[in-house]
Subunit: 430 residues, 2 copies
């Protein structure tokens, strides 16, 4: 399809992508594990063999980004270095080594009528993914799609279009080399934004949309989509330091949760401290934050415990701070009466992504796990662990803060559905 | 709330219902199994103790229905007989006797980092249910909602409003008698249709909508809803009689699937017969249908085998017949070359509800199960078994033909979500 046709009628173009994907999805759904794994291994080989040409394509994106005056950290995220390419190749091989869940039948039980009823795991069908920046997401999405027996339509950002095109060519070659339809993974070849609007309103072809990117993009897609959306808007994650707790463990965990990396969605943005341990804990964590130049947005009670910490940058927390995902060296801090107030505060202000309690009290731990209404709830560890790899999912396509279908890090299972399987020997309904 | 206020501002009224439900859902989510089961048993007791007053309320609906000239089968569906009330009471007791799945943690596994990761089953939160006619659905929905720890807002049909109000009063009494919030189950007290429009567009209060009723109602709700919808539009279910098969078993099963009841969504509407068994099977099933006055809409090939059946009502099938859910003594019949054509036909024309193959061929059975893209796929039994009770789910709130979240008969698990639970001993992310 030539670029001219593409630009002239995005509706028709997107429709064609949808039809192709739908047709390919039927073939993918019945493909054997061996065939899908062969495609993944071939993709790994092609990525390694084409490292040089991938970097040439990537150079076009990088040039454009620099010419447009993009900040160097943003340019960095665009880079397809040999190391990034090798990581992508290894990711494909890891997926190939994982067991195939498609066709798996679970819970088969005999019913009073004599029929046996269970559930078979099957692909969802076609998913559309809309993402920005990092071109390696193309390979992550494509490989998860192949492994899970789905077809997908990938719409990357315009800033990475040349890298994405080069990567998608290799994916399609790996598919056809293995006897699978090239249309099982299609990259949108145009940067026209209208395509997104069409893609999210084609329930006849697309079963689910997975957007990854800025909050406003995801809000817009959720509002306008006519198909289900797997998403999270933001990650206002909390660490709650309970009374009683191991204060030195709390120190290590809160430090890790806030400062190990500032930009991920599972980094902690808000710290709650039980009154009973505040006098001991807050000056210690205050020193850690002061040393790392993390600005603290504090409630009046916590200010009292932090005021004497040398070098501490303290600001009064506003109501808006309790909602805020900073993605930066800033943290909000509040002293609470205990586990009740902590749970109530979190359920009011959090984005339902990930929250952790540091405690020695078994009852508090159980209540926190049960009553905090977030996609991941943790005891005595760092919110930074909320991640598909760390959870043993093999890979993740995104994180969902919704309760419907998939919640938390979404791996292969989130891209599948369960249909009922019924085996009889001639039983009839009476 | 007086009827006058209700009618004057449906938006405000629905908003209040939503706020109340949201608040109640937090209490329901942490309620113990014992408390929820006590409420269910109390509801059963109240239903039995109030059989007479329920029938008085029901009499108002029946009078109105007859005055409006409703057909007697429709009036029948409205009736709250002592038998219907006793069945409702028993349903509540059965749910009370089932294990509580809320808080159940599954798949807890240790990861390389040392953290242990599993998933906890939790309620969805608030569901809205929109239904027509049979008032016993009020009790089915309320009891499933209580057992699954959700709150719900029920919007029954105007034809059953007096019965539904009387039933909902008993539900709220059972809740408060057991120390649970009355707002955990709220019946919409007005028949104003605007309420439905508000109810399906309040994602801040309502997590999922479950519509049950006519296809056009469900289509409208699906189109306009701003929250997920659990639904099926229709049930164009197929029986495929394969070559080779046990012809006498096929005869029993197809007879049961079509004629045991004509109105349920899991009744078979279309019969596919493999060419190799058509000459033997079609005259036999044709006689069954002729005796029961089931009209046959046939393809040219099947007409040849059915033409000589005494009393057979044959019509040429139009393209539209392959899509049709008759819910009546009518069936479409087509001869196909074999399992490939059967699967292709079903995937093209079916409503993805329930399909069954009658076969002796193991490979054909496996392919049918894997490749037919429907919410229930069956071997050697009747499509009429697609039902929550028959599947051992205890009860069902509806049937979903979508692939997202819940597929097939939806029981308690379909009203729940899984959140990740992470247990650590001070591990940090490196």
């Amino acid at each position: 399809m030539s670029a001219i046709i593409v630009e002239s009628n995005t509706q028709e173009y997107t429709q064609t992508l949808g039809q192709n994907a739908k047709a390919a999805s039927a073939t993918m759904a019945k493909a054997t594990a061996a065939t899908k794994n062969a495609a993944l291994k071939q993709l790994a080989a092609l990525l390694r063999a084409n490292t040089e040409s991938l970097q040439q394509a990537n150079a076009l994106d990088l040039e454009r980004a620099r010419a447009a005056g993009l900040a160097e950290p943003m340019v960095d995220r665009l880079k397809l270095t040999p190391k990034v390419i090798e990581t992508c190749a290894q990711g494909c091989e890891q997926l190939a080594a994982m067991p195939d869940v498609i066709g798996e039948i679970s819970g088969m039980q005999q019913q009073p009528s004599g029929i046996r009823v269970g559930q078979m795991r099957v692909p969802i069908g076609v998913f559309g993914m809309i993402f920005e920046s990092r071109p390696n997401v193309t390979i992550e999405a494509a490989s998860l799609s192949i492994k899970s027996g789905n077809a997908c339509i990938l719409r990357g950002g315009s800033e990475a279009i040349d890298s994405n095109k080069a990567l998608a060519r290799l994916v399609q070659q790996a598919l056809t080399d293995s006897g699978l339809p090239a249309a099982a993974v299609q990259l949108v070849q145009t940067t026209d934004r209208e395509v997104v609007g069409h893609l999210i309103t084609m329930p006849q072809y697309v079963d689910v949309i997975i957007p990854r990117g800025g909050k406003s993009l995801i809000e817009r897609i959720s509002r306008d989509a006519k198909v289900p959306v797997i998403k999270h808007l933001d990650g206002n994650c909390h660490m709650y330091v309970d009374d009683p707790c191991d204060v030195s463990m709390a120190l290590t965990l809160v430090d890790n949760a806030k400062t190990q990396k500032y930009s991920p969605c599972n980094a902690t943005e808000s710290l709650l401290v039980a009154q009973g341990v505040a006098a001991e804990f807050l000056p210690l964590i205050g020193k850690v934050f002061a040393d790392k130049q993390v600005e603290m947005r504090v409630c009046p009670q916590s200010r009292a415990f932090l005021a004497d910490v040398p070098g501490a940058v303290l600001k009064d927390a506003l109501e808006a701070d309790w909602y805020e995902e900073y993605l930066a060296p800033i943290i909000s801090i509040k002293v609470v009466a205990g586990v009740d107030e902590a749970i109530a505060h979190i359920n009011q202000y959090s984005s339902h992504h990930t929250e952790a309690i540091v405690t020695r009290d078994h009852m508090h731990a159980q209540r926190f796990l049960r009553e905090v209404d977030s996609s991941s709830v943790m005891v005595n560890t760092s919110t930074r662990f909320a991640d598909g790899f760390e959870y043993g999912l093999g890979a993740e396509i995104g994180i969902s803060t919704d309760k419907f279908h998939a919640r938390g890090p979404v791996g292969i299972n989130g891209l599948t559905s369960l249909k009922y399987v019924v085996l009889g020997q001639g039983e009839v309904r009476v």
